[in-house]
């Protein structure tokens, strides 16, 4: 199999543009609904999330599944009418409630009101998350800042190791991966009500750190091929480099996707969306390295008149094979 990435570049760019546009459209629609491009969890906007499960070791405590309406009644009497309620579990013995930020007295009042109405909860299965609004903003801005810092750090490193234009297109490819992942979660937020929490920012940062790898491998090969045969056209070189590294680009992504799939399926509720974000981001990372970063570099070199690198006189390292490592 040989890919003609250069000849079909119009197609690759169209696919990427369509994906990005779909995400942007979802973000725009969400913005008109909730004034945010993604559904923020309480990590970013503050609030209280309570998860209770009935204590089934007590007699007659678990006879009936929890009814959303009953929970809603209790919340209404506590003045928490706008809260979200979700009944969980196969037997419907657990419930999560998301409200505005509750202080300790409001929370204990709510809990005892719920217990008298629904049944005793198991303290060992209780989960409480309360985040003040300021902390939420703090989490959000520090997350955003670390994203920017890592972009800058990677750009700087690639500029030192390669050349400035390599770095620029690697960053473009990264933005592409991050944007599509965000767009995907905007779509999920629209149709599924999926929220993004601080782990989502962690996922984006990991995507940034990992997805650049495939790009680097291809650029490394482009550089090597240029120094081996300086007289060739950049389009040929890029095509060759992509094809020579294709298996490894696919395989390195595949091994990571295998562990992520396992995490997605078995890792529990907390890590599910985290694993999903990484699966999308890493897949896009491989795609953008193979089809976007490479073709953009070729186009740029061609347009700036650097399509054919000057022939250098010095022999290259590739002729040396006895060197060892380690």
């Amino acid at each position: 199999m040989k890919l003609n990435v250069i000849r079909q570049r119009g197609l690759w760019w169209a696919i990427s543009s369509a994906l990005i546009l779909a995400g942007l459209a979802a973000m725009a629609i969400l913005w008109t609904q909730i004034q945010a491009p993604l559904r923020p969890s309480l990590d970013f906007v503050g609030g209280t999330r309570l998860q209770f499960e009935l204590d089934c070791t007590k007699p007659n405590n678990c006879d009936q599944p929890i009814q959303t309406a009953a929970v809603r009644d209790v919340l209404d009497t506590q003045g928490l009418a706008g809260s979200t309620i979700q009944v969980l579990g196969q037997e419907q013995h657990a419930v999560t409630i998301r409200t505005t930020t509750l202080d300790v007295d409001q929370r204990s009042k709510l809990q005892s009101a719920l217990e008298s109405k629904i049944g005793t909860f198991d303290v060992k299965k209780t989960q409480i998350d309360t985040v003040g609004p300021t902390i939420g903003r703090q989490l959000f801005s520090s997350g955003l800042l670390s994203l920017i810092v890592s972009f800058a750090g990677i750009a700087l490193y690639l500029t030192i190791r390669y050349q400035f234009d390599y770095a620029v297109f690697a960053i473009v490819a990264l933005l592409h991966d991050v944007l599509i992942t965000i767009g995907f979660f905007a779509i999920l937020g629209l149709i599924n009500g999926t929220e993004v929490d601080s782990l989502f920012i962690v996922a984006l940062l990991t995507i940034v750190g990992f997805s650049v790898n495939d790009t680097v491998v291809i650029y490394d090969r482009v550089r090597e091929t240029i120094s081996l045969s300086p007289g060739r056209h950049i389009n040929d070189i890029v095509d060759d480099a992509v094809n020579q590294t294709l298996t490894r680009s696919i395989n390195t992504t595949l091994t990571v996707l295998l562990t992520l799939t396992s995490l997605f399926l078995f890792g529990g509720e907390t890590l599910k969306n985290f694993a999903l974000a990484l699966i999308i981001g890493f897949t896009m990372g491989a795609y953008s390295s193979i089809f976007i970063a490479s073709t953009l570099l070729a186009l740029w070199r061609e347009r700036t008149g650097n399509a054919i690198a000057p022939v250098s006189a010095t022999p290259t390292e590739a002729t040396v094979s006895k060197d060892s490592l380690g």
Partner: protein, 472 residues
């Protein structure tokens, strides 16, 4: 070959050492896995104290420590976070209502005077307590468990009575933390002491209080959140006429450098009018934590198995070597977590599982390169060597970029995020060793075995098979 054998032995030693570490050193589990409560407490500036500095934060931390210790939670962690926050971790607390109640609110420091009529009462209680405590060793020697427990309960009850009696003995005077300007540890000659200074109003109140104490030969009681910190006496000969005037005083006693510092911080914390508020509460029930541990073990083993199978099926003999290197990687990394005392959180485990998938990346790069070289007609030995050599720059670059992202996460991220960054970064660094050094050593060892030196074990469909075994 000598160097290779040395490396093989080193790898073997590392594997054995890491198994020992994993068995012997317990893994530190985060609160989201063992169950417990984590509270973030925000210290708020006021009119008087516009900016919270390290000095104030340290004092507030001391006050919080005092309150937490009163709750009887085992192994609480109290540390400062950022410029104006204190992080409190309460392992095993399922419902932190009590902790939240005592933690909110400003510290209450006040200076009280002793009421002589109540002292006799306190003395009796204290003697009773001492009697009970004196009985304990004899009981422990006799080994009667029921009697020991009964006596311990009696001691606890008596301690409570003593505490109540202390409260009766001391009466509030109106001199409280608001008037205390500063407290500092001082070395008086060669004795540690704590110096305190009051503002104008405080100085007057303090003079009156010490005058009364000197005249009646009673003590002062310094209380923080209703607990007695110190009960100094006032020298009657020196101060019975005027009390201690000028608003400066020195508390001496049998202080060590640490105990003086402790009192200084408690006094300073009590004098701060800064309100504190719980701004974040993350509580996970113990059963939920166990569920998380179970599901992440399944996810980890599932991920590891999938990767091992893939590598062996796709890369054949080198795949087996990569699989061995990957298992070594998992062992070394987990041992490193235990050894470095990394606290494993749920995102931390996710980072570790993710790094299993990333650790073989280097092997994929190397083996693909090796295949290319074999197809290009090189000998097996040279193909392997140049596979390792020429893949190195790609491996380095890709790992450095991942580390950059980890560093950004670590320095700017909060609690949970840091755990992920740390485990991922540690994984990347260790994978550089296992995927390169370990697998290279194993590979060269395999190549020294004649029957395994077949190119088709390394690469399927070699075009017009070159004479690979001829030279090596």
């Amino acid at each position: 070959m000598g160097r290779q054998r040395g490396l093989l032995l080193l790898i073997l030693a590392l594997v054995i050492a890491s198994i020992v570490v994993i068995v012997k050193v317990p893994t530190r589990l985060g609160l989201d896995l063992q169950g417990g409560s984590q509270l973030t407490i925000q210290v708020k500036p006021t009119e008087e104290i516009k900016k919270i500095t390290e000095r104030e934060l340290e004092a507030v931390q001391k006050v919080i420590e005092g309150r937490i210790n009163g709750l009887g939670v085992s192994e609480p962690v109290i540390q400062t976070a950022g410029e104006d926050q204190v992080l409190v971790q309460l392992p095993g607390v399922d419902n932190p209502l009590q902790a939240e109640r005592v933690l909110g609110g400003t510290a209450q420091l006040d200076f009280r005077s002793e009421n002589p009529t109540q002292i006799a009462f306190l003395r009796v209680r204290q003697e009773e307590l001492q009697e009970l405590q004196a009985k304990q060793p004899a009981l422990e020697k006799a080994g009667d468990q029921a009697a020991i427990a009964a006596n311990q309960a009696a001691i606890a009850a008596k301690e409570k009575q003593v505490e109540d009696a202390i409260k009766q003995v001391y009466e509030k005077t109106g001199l409280d933390g608001r008037y205390l300007k500063d407290a500092r540890t001082e070395l008086q000659g060669n004795v540690w002491a704590v110096g305190i200074s009051f503002d104008q109003k405080g100085a007057d109140l303090f003079a009156a209080l010490t005058k009364k104490a000197a005249q009646t030969n009673t003590r002062l009681g310094i209380f923080l959140d209703d607990k007695l910190l110190s009960s100094p006496s006032v020298d009657p000969g020196q101060f019975s006429q005027t009390g201690i005037t000028g608003g400066n005083a020195v508390i001496t006693g049998n202080f060590t450098a640490e105990s003086a510092r402790e009192l200084e911080l408690q006094l300073r914390g009590g004098s701060l009018p800064v309100p504190i508020q719980i701004v974040e509460n993350r509580t996970v029930g113990a059963t939920l934590g166990q569920d998380s541990i179970r599901s992440s073990i399944i996810a980890g083993i599932g991920g590891l198995t999938l990767v091992l199978v893939f590598m062996i099926v796709y890369y054949r003999l080198p795949g087996v070597i990569a699989a061995i290197a990957l298992v070594i990687y998992a062992l070394l990394t987990f041992a490193a977590f235990n050894l470095l005392g990394v606290t494993l959180t749920l995102p931390g485990i996710a980072g570790f599982i993710l790094s299993i998938g990333m650790a073989v990346d280097a092997n994929v790069l190397i083996f693909e390169r090796t295949r290319e070289e074999i197809k290009a007609g090189k000998t097996l030995y040279r193909s392997v060597e140049s596979g390792f050599f020429r893949a190195f720059s790609s491996i380095l670059d890709s790992n450095v970029t991942t580390l950059i992202a980890c560093a950004a996460l670590f320095w700017l991220g909060a609690g949970l995020v840091r755990g992920f960054a740390l485990t991922l970064a540690l994984g990347v660094v260790i994978s550089m060793f296992t995927a390169i050094t370990c697998s290279r050593t194993l590979m060269l060892y395999v190549l020294s075995i004649q029957s395994l030196r077949k190119p088709e074990l390394f690469c399927p469909n070699i075009p017009n098979k070159p004479s690979a075994e001829a030279t090596s």
